[in-house]
């Protein structure tokens, strides 16, 4: 009966889920390590040894590429964390904070590539801000000849990462605040004479940081190794290490794959070293922080200035993303738009018509992949959470780390290996393979987004339903899922947004033959056709944003007469 069969399937789901995540990860790492040390069956001229590393070291761009990876990653992470900590300390619980919080979902759902294009369109020498300034300040007739986007120090790349990582870390911080009993701790600190910011940093931040440590590590690993944002905003000669690895991976000369694999191993080592460094700084900061707390300094004088300063970068990050999308939209419908003008001379739908048929096909493929990957992730996540609820099978600390593994191990370190492994096994990188690869990255976000609301659900509802004669499956379908419809839809929107934004898995696992909105948009980066970029980046944003709107509207519509489900 149902009782018996679900007992067999459901308890196996957590293990199955870990396999879905970790088998490709392991295969990918092996598939990267092998070629890096010269082992690649089927490639003539490959022989075991350190030749690949020698070739890598001989690449003149290596020192700069390595430095860039470290500097952009560490700077973007430290800046994002500082902005989030300060704005939460100074503004948590206020109306300003509530406004920032409401912006979070749309900000998070904007794909990295679209946000990067938006930033580029804003701050480039011929970008919108310069046009605005030309009108009244600089009086320039032609764009100034300076390198802002793709600057050699990677400053624009850092900015592009910060505007997207701030919303992510802010979301994680808000989730952690509830568990850290933040409001009361801050109140207690204030009654002891500490200003709100100082009090928060001393009394709440240590507990919050313990909760968001893993997400911070994810941000660090991601920022060091991101490919699509680095192609759009990062320097070119040489590019960051991960971009160079991708160039070697996609070179027609297959022998460069060995060099790419060696680069991937180096990239992984760099990330591990950076994480270790970060951990050391954590320990040192904790020690300094303890001394700071012990001194008992109230430092109320700096408070107003700190409050003012802290809201600027957070607001600027939000404004950059939103304004960037607006400028992308403007370019997609711009006719002639000569330089110093802040608005196009005319508007036209020509760009949309020109790319329409191609766009429709690519958008349909993107949405199909995102839908399937999200559905699979949702089934696995719900299965894991239901197994946890019914049988007490929980992912404890180790499990959580395993869950974060696909987000911590840089994509560029194991996806080349996945491609190599697929090549060796004779697997074709079609739509299905790309979808499966997306699940690896979609699932963790879906699971993390579902976890809290599912565990917060009052299990007495399940007990009541059982005593009314309902079996476990009926409880799930008729009580639990309908009550948790809003979080399920939000998690689905998160999943779709994550999948839509995937660049490297789509490109490498699909072997370049499964174009999506993201790969097409990024491919346009070098061409400089702003109208085409506007069209594709806007379509990419819409594909990620529309599900969020639906997730917000649908529960309100379906449960408009159910007050008990609406007030959260």
């Amino acid at each position: 009966m149902g009782w018996v069969s679900r007992r067999r399937v459901l308890p196996a789901l957590p293990a199955l889920t870990l396999a879905v995540l970790l088998v490709p990860l392991g295969a990918g790492l092996i598939g990267t390590l092998g070629p890096a040390f010269g082992w690649m069956p089927g490639l003539a001229g490959a022989q075991p040894g350190l030749d690949a590393f020698r070739a890598l070291l001989a690449w003149p761009g290596l020192p700069r590429a390595v430095t860039l990876s470290l500097s952009t990653g560490l700077a973007a992470t430290a800046l994002s964390l500082a902005i989030v900590a300060l704005v939460t300390a100074a503004w948590g619980g206020t109306r300003v904070f509530a406004a920032l919080r409401r912006l979070l979902s749309p900000l998070l759902s904007v794909p990295h590539a679209a946000a990067a294009f938006g930033l580029a369109f804003l701050i480039a020498p011929s970008g919108w801000l310069m046009r605005l300034a030309s009108a009244w300040a600089t009086g320039l007739e032609r764009p100034p000849d300076v390198l802002i986007v793709q600057d050699p120090l990677g400053l624009t790349l850092i900015a592009g990462l910060v505007v997207k990582e701030v919303p992510f870390l802010l979301l994680m911080t808000i989730a952690a605040l509830g568990q850290a009993d933040a409001t009361r701790a801050q109140t207690v600190a204030q009654t002891l004479g500490y200003g709100r910011t100082t009090g928060w940093l001393k009394a709440v931040f240590p507990r919050v940081y313990a909760q968001i440590r893993l997400p911070v590590y994810v941000v660090l690993a991601f920022s060091m190794t991101v490919v699509d944002v680095a192609i759009i905003l990062g320097p070119n000669t040489p590019p960051t290490l991960s971009v160079q690895i991708l160039r070697w991976m996609t070179d027609p000369d297959l022998s460069l794959r060995l060099q790419a694999a060696a680069g991937a191993v180096l990239q992984l080592a760099l990330v591990l070293a950076a994480l270790a460094l970060w951990r050391l700084v954590e320990i040192a900061t904790a020690r300094l922080g303890r001394a700071w707390v012990l001194r008992g300094a109230r430092a109320r004088l700096g408070e107003p200035a700190l409050r003012g300063l802290s809201v600027l970068p957070a607001g600027a990050a939000a404004a950059t993303v939103l304004l960037g999308i607006a400028i992308l939209a403007l370019w997609s419908v711009a006719g002639l738009w000569s330089f110093p003008k802040a608005l196009p001379d005319q508007l036209s739908l020509r760009s949309w018509m020109r790319h329409g048929p191609e766009l429709a096909e690519i958008a349909a493929r993107t949405v199909t992949i995102a839908g399937l990957a999200t559905l699979a992730s949702l089934i696995l996540a719900l299965g894991c959470l239901e197994a946890e609820h019914r049988d007490g099978l929980t992912l404890r600390r180790t499990g959580l780390w395993l869950l974060y593994l696909p987000l911590l191990i840089p994509q560029v370190a194991f996806l080349p290996g996945v491609q190599t492994a697929m090549l060796l096994l004779g697997l074709d990188g079609g739509l299905f393979a790309v979808t499966a690869a997306h699940v690896i990255f979609v699932f963790p976000y879906v699971f993390l987004s579902l976890g809290d609301p599912f565990r917060a659900w009052d299990t007495r509802y399940a007990t009541i339903a059982c005593t009314l004669g309902a079996r476990a499956n009926r409880v799930l379908w008729r009580v639990r899922l309908p009550m948790l419809l809003a979080p399920v839809l939000t998690a689905s929107a998160v999943g779709v947004a994550v999948s839509v934004g995937q660049y490297l898995p789509t490109l490498l696992v699909g072997g370049g033959r499964v174009p999506t909105l993201t790969t097409e948009a990024v491919a346009l980066a070098s061409g400089g056709d702003r109208r085409a970029i506007g069209v594709f980046a806007l379509a990419q944003t819409a594909a990620a944003l529309v599900p969020f709107a639906l997730a917000l509207i649908l529960p309100r519509l379906l449960y408009r007469n159910r007050r008990g489900l609406l007030h959260d």
Partner: protein, 212 residues
Amino acid sequence: MTDALRLEDLRVSLRNETLFALDLEVMPGHVTSIMGPSGTGKSTLLAAIIGTLRPPFEMSGRVCLGQTDLTPLPPEARGIGILYQDDLLFPHLSVAENLAFGLSPRLRGRAARRAAVDAALARIDMAGFGDRDPATLSGGQKLRVSLMRALLSEPRALLLDEPFSSLDVALRQLMRALVFDQARDRGLPVLMVTHDPEDAEAAGGPVVTLGG
């Protein structure tokens, strides 16, 4: 037609330490009250009887209805209803849908089920409330609906987990009378967990004190 609820040497332990041991019989139509300060395992006892006790808790002994041993059965097959302090009406369902969720599946046909739900609403003086959102009901109305939802599933015993403590004093007496009368009419054995001596007094049955 109804049987006594018997706890035979029921012992619940946490990490090899016994929380409580009980051996008692609740006769049909009677109310036995379990009293005790918080933390003595009153809710754990109810979980053991319903069949939702989870590790690290362990139990030994048997829960029986008449001659039937319920211990090996899952919660949904035990035929024991429960009322909590909170109404726990399903917030996504209307009042009528909540009642229909409880209504035994043996009653077939849309019209017959609808009629049974309407009759149940009339019995608690809430005729015409079927399409209401449970969140819009008063505390007393919510309790009445959740009582009726439990009774419609035709339980063979009823557990009460401090069901009156969230009501104000005036309403409390009315609701006690309603719940105890309904249970007595159906000849259900009732086990009530409470920390309010007035509850136990109103119930009029034996009082068992846990812990302390």
